[in-house]
Amino acid sequence: MQDTRLTPLLSIAGLVALWIVAASLTADPQVLPQPWDLIPRFKQELVSGELPRSLGVTLVRVIWAFALAMTLGTIIGLSMGRSDALNRWLDPWLVIFLNLPALVLIVLCYLWIGLTEAAAITAVTLNKIPNVATILREGGRALSPDLDAMAQVYQLPRQTRLRHVILPQLTPFIAAAARSGLSLIWKVVLVVEFLGRSSGVGFQIHLYFQLFDVAMVLVYAFSFIAVMLIVEWLVLQPWERKARRWRAV
């Protein structure tokens, strides 16, 4: 019987094989270089320090936008999930913001705030908040009324209630929002950098797009995908495992 753990590796190998075939068929490194052609370019950017610097700048923007969007989205979503009246008021806003194209928000933020770091992070945060709020609203609706009643009768302090009663119930929803949030945020951050910043991975992709250097575009894109995978493996997954360890018993 086939070892299912090998499936993801085989799948990625298949993708690389497809890439190799496509690169061979195009036979033009300007359009699609072979995977191994990226290695010297990657080393060159690494040694020059440009790649780590750009990755660092983009990562800081991702962290800021992620933290703000998760915090504000959780507060808004939870409040909407707990209050029908608030939900009735805010639901139309949520629908509008969910359907507002990311590009429109980015352009508006740059126009209103200027081509600044604050505008960039605001644009990314505003793009993500509706998504987090929608997921956390369901979390708020799913909170156990019995545990609520227990906390009320035993007069648990607000902080204890939040930390030990409410947040553990929201963990699956926060984890879902965080996972989808991270993948959305870093993509939007690249667009924001592409359009209006002079640093970061998005800026570098913009630069090499103008030079029609596909290899360097791929070097920066794959490097940042690797960074986000590392964040997923080293931060998100261990946190999720820890938060869900009681379910495993």
Binding site: A149, M150, V153, Y154, Q155, L156, H164, P168, W246, R247
Partner: protein, 198 residues
């Protein structure tokens, strides 16, 4: 003295409880009986302060404990933590003693999911009594247990009430439970405008 004086409780236009008034003396145990759906649990929720939306007045002490139909524990916290989080003044020794009192000695590190339903009910009782309550409210605490476990739990509850002496109000469908645990039985019946005491 605990004083319950409810003039009316309604959900929308539906009057669920009519005038219901009674007192509970310190150390007294009252059983509340009545047919299903009459409003016993609603009455308990008012008495416990969970639902403040009613017409009337309830005087109750601050040190209150409740045992729900379901154990209503924090499944993501250990048995010990379920007591400590609710009663932060308890020492580790107090917690161990409270667990021992209900027959859960040595199980403090287990999560509720690792305990049987009977053990979870015991933990719920331990949580209620660990705070030395002046007033204990129980909503069908022995429901959905097999006869043997229900009998064990009944005896345990009887002992704990005798040991700690809180005023107790509990809902039950079982006349034998009511007669065994309580000093007085109140029966909720349908009235013209919501349920009243019979």
């Amino acid at each position: 003295m605990i004083r319950i004086d409810i003039r009316q409780k309604r959900f929308g236009n539906d009057v669920v409880l009519g005038p219901v008034s009674f007192d509970i003396a310190a150390g007294e145990t009252i059983a509340l009986t009545g047919p299903s759906g009459i409003g016993k649990t609603t009455l308990l929720r008012l008495v416990a302060g969970i639902d403040p939306d009613f017409d009337g007045q309830i005087v109750r002490p601050d040190r209150l404990a409740i045992v729900f139909q379901e154990p209503t524990l924090l499944p993501w916290r250990s048995a010990s933590d379920n007591l400590i989080l609710v009663h932060p003044s308890l020492s580790r020794a107090d917690v161990e003693a409270a667990l021992t009192d209900v027959g859960l000695d040595g199980k403090g590190n287990l999560f509720p999911g690792q305990l049987s339903l009977g053990q979870q009910r015991r933990l719920s009782l331990a949580r209620a009594f660990a705070g030395q309550p002046e007033f204990l409210i129980m909503d069908e605490p022995f429901v959905s247990l097999d006869a043997e476990t229900a009998e064990t739990m009944l005896t345990l509850t009887e002992d704990l009430i005798a040991q700690h002496g809180p005023a107790t109000l509990f809902v039950t469908h079982s006349q034998s439970e009511a007669q065994r645990l309580s000093n007085r039985i109140l029966n909720l019946i349908s009235g013209r405008d919501g349920a009243v005491l019979g």
